[in-house]
């Protein structure tokens, strides 16, 4: 199969996946106790349930499940995801805005994280089992296992509370343009970078160790080539392959899985939107946002697989 055909096949599967996801989410939702009407009314919903019934009618929740789902789907293929039950605003522009925020966070964090991790991983591999290697292991592991909200709180208290260099929350910064974005992204990006450092570093390190042991690389060294040339021209190309996969995984994770970091810094990304939709039992919003997250994840994985295939001719499909 050529690369082009492979990509097309994957894209087709992507659409099927999204369909399956929205169906799955919708189905799981029916198992969730409570619905959006109950969320809005809370304890104040009357015993007799009169207000609750009226609210459900207003929100369209009194229709049977499949009708609600198909109605949503019909709109979704046209690009109209309907209205959020809890926020009462159209979902599509809301999603676009949140996705923009998430991307602005994920891309710098990824670039920074990958750069640092690659350097650390290669260094650790080349000085294997030495002091530096162990130090890098301990530091990166500590970074990933300090809970994100602890690290985040410490960063806020130091940089916003004590030094006053940065705003305490993204909702408090004023202005626009690169200066504004730099200020609200600094702390969340720092936290995300620390979180992702460990895994990319360790993956890079182990695969580099493997590659450095191969006869191919050993021959190059024996031939008398300088260390750096061996590293860059021979080892890296194969050694970095698993890293590509991990990086793609990280990107997907940064878009949707960083709910904790988003909550700590009040950063209005997609992860927080999903959390909000679950808490508020806002099904249309949940379906739409889960699909967007899944879409981003799949696209990132697809890009990684394509890159992998391009870099490694041996596994062409």
């Amino acid at each position: 199969m050529t690369l082009g055909a492979y990509v097309l096949r994957r894209l087709g599967l992507l659409v099927l996946t999204l369909l399956a996801i929205s169906l799955l989410v919708s189905g799981i939702f029916q198992l969730l106790p409570g619905d959006a009407a109950e969320q809005i009314l809370g304890a104040w919903a009357e015993r007799s349930g009169a207000t609750l019934t009226a609210m459900r009618a207003r929100l369209g929740l009194d229709r049977p499940w499949h009708e609600q789902y198909l109605g949503w789907l019909a709109g979704a293929v046209r690009g109209d995801f309907g209205k959020s039950l809890a926020m009462d605003v159209p979902i599509a522009p809301l999603l676009a805005e949140r996705l923009g925020y998430s991307l602005r966070l994920a891309i710098p964090a990824l670039v920074l994280g990958v750069t640092i991790s690659l350097v650390l991983g290669v260094v650790a591999a080349t000085r294997r089992n030495g002091i530096i290697d162990h130090l890098i292991t301990v530091v990166t592991l500590t970074g990933v296992s300090v809970p994100a909200f602890v690290l985040g709180s410490v960063l806020i208290l130091v940089f916003a509370g004590w030094l006053r260099w940065l705003p305490s929350s993204s909702a408090l910064a004023e202005g626009s343009g690169p200066g504004y974005w730099a200020r609200i992204l600094a702390l969340p990006v720092a936290t995300l970078t620390v979180e992702s450092l460990a895994y990319i570093t360790r993956t890079t390190r182990s695969s580099m160790i493997e590659v450095l042991k191969t006869p191919y690389v050993r021959t190059a060294t024996l031939k008398g080539l300088p260390r750096r040339v061996v590293l860059v021209k021979h080892a890296l190309r194969n050694g970095l392959l698993p890293t590509v996969t991990v990086v793609a995984f990280n990107f997907g994770w940064m878009l949707g899985g960083v709910v904790v970091v988003e909550q700590v810094f009040n950063y209005p990304g997609i992860g927080s939107l999903v959390l909000f939709a679950i808490e508020q039992r806002d099904l249309p919003l949940l379906q739409a946002s889960m699909c967007v997250v899944a879409f981003a994840y799949c696209v990132a994985n697809l890009a990684a697989d394509v890159l992998y295939a391009v870099l490694n001719p041996r596994i062409r499909y």
Partner: protein, 287 residues
């Protein structure tokens, strides 16, 4: 003269070999926490739920080595007994996820064909959710509790483990000794359990260690969102999440459980590294 077909060497413990330092360190750390989990309540100075109102939020002192929290509960006792909840949740979630993933991956990889394709599609769909979001959804449906947090962790792990196992099985399916067994007429399930599985243990065990560290971190995140272990259980993630407001006034309430989390994660990862080294070394020695 009879010709004997060489069979894979039996598993034997190395005798005079040096154990990798990482393995020793990992076992030591994990072992200590396991001991705490087992006998914690009997070796700690105070009852974990006892309020000492007069000494609330006191710094570490002679009476309370790790200080007290806002109700006057002893932090040391809660951290030691907390290993129970954290270790149990992480281990149970990992064990469940790895077991189910193993079974699915083995079956799918060996059988191949349409069922394999179908199962892997489903696994892909589940994997296209970031782990925390999936765990969030599962816990919201089932209700917030430690048991449900374990289930959600397992659900997240199954597809990933299944994929790893499946690729390993795919690689081994064409190995010589497997073909020899098929030629001999052995049943599929026998081949899977007696020929393939023993060769899978090394990557599985290492994978399980990696998963376990994820499990610890995921349960901490769930506690932050209020969806993991519930009060008043002493659980490290819950302690850090609930007491983080006192980070400046009374840092010990947050720092000791956080340090425990860090130590456990480092320990598990180091153990995984050590196991990988040890198992690889053993393998090359036997070749």
């Amino acid at each position: 003269m009879a010709v004997t077909i060489p069979r894979p060497a039996a598993i034997a413990l190395p005798r005079a070999r040096r154990w990798p330092a990482a393995l020793v360190a990992g076992v030591a750390i994990l072992g200590t926490f396991a001991i705490f989990a087992a006998v914690g309540p009997w070796i700690v100075p105070y009852d974990v739920e006892q309020f000492h109102r007069a000494s609330a939020l006191e710094a570490p002192s002679h009476a309370f080595w790790f200080g007290t929290d806002r109700y006057g509960r002893d932090v040391l006792s809660r951290v030691v007994v907390g290993s129970r909840s954290t270790l149990a949740m992480a281990a149970a979630g990992t064990l469940l996820g790895v077991t189910v993933g193993l079974v699915l991956g083995l079956g799918s990889g060996y059988v191949g064909g349409r069922p394999d394709e179908a199962l892997m599609r489903i696994m892909d769909i589940v994997m296209s959710f970031p782990s925390l979001l999936l765990a969030l959804l599962v816990v919201s449906v089932l209700g917030a509790s430690a048991v449900n947090a374990v289930l959600s962790i397992a659900v997240v792990f199954v597809p990933r483990v299944a994929r790893v196992v499946r690729s390993a099985v795919l690689g081994l399916r064409t190995a010589e000794f497997v073909e020899a067994a098929q030629v001999r007429g052995e049943r599929g399930s026998w081949i899977v359990t007696r020929e393939i599985l023993p060769n899978l243990w090394p990557p599985i065990i290492v994978e399980a260690c990696v998963r376990m560290s994820f499990a610890v971190l995921m349960s901490v995140s769930l506690s932050y969102l209020g969806l993991g272990a519930q009060p008043p259980t002493p659980d490290w993630g819950l302690m850090v999440a609930k007491e983080r407001a006192f980070l400046v006034q009374a840092p010990w309430v947050v720092l000791f459980p956080a340090a425990a989390i860090v130590t456990l994660v480092i320990g598990v990862n180091v153990l995984g590294d050590g196991l990988r080294e040890w198992l690889m070394a053993r393998k090359t020695a036997d070749e």
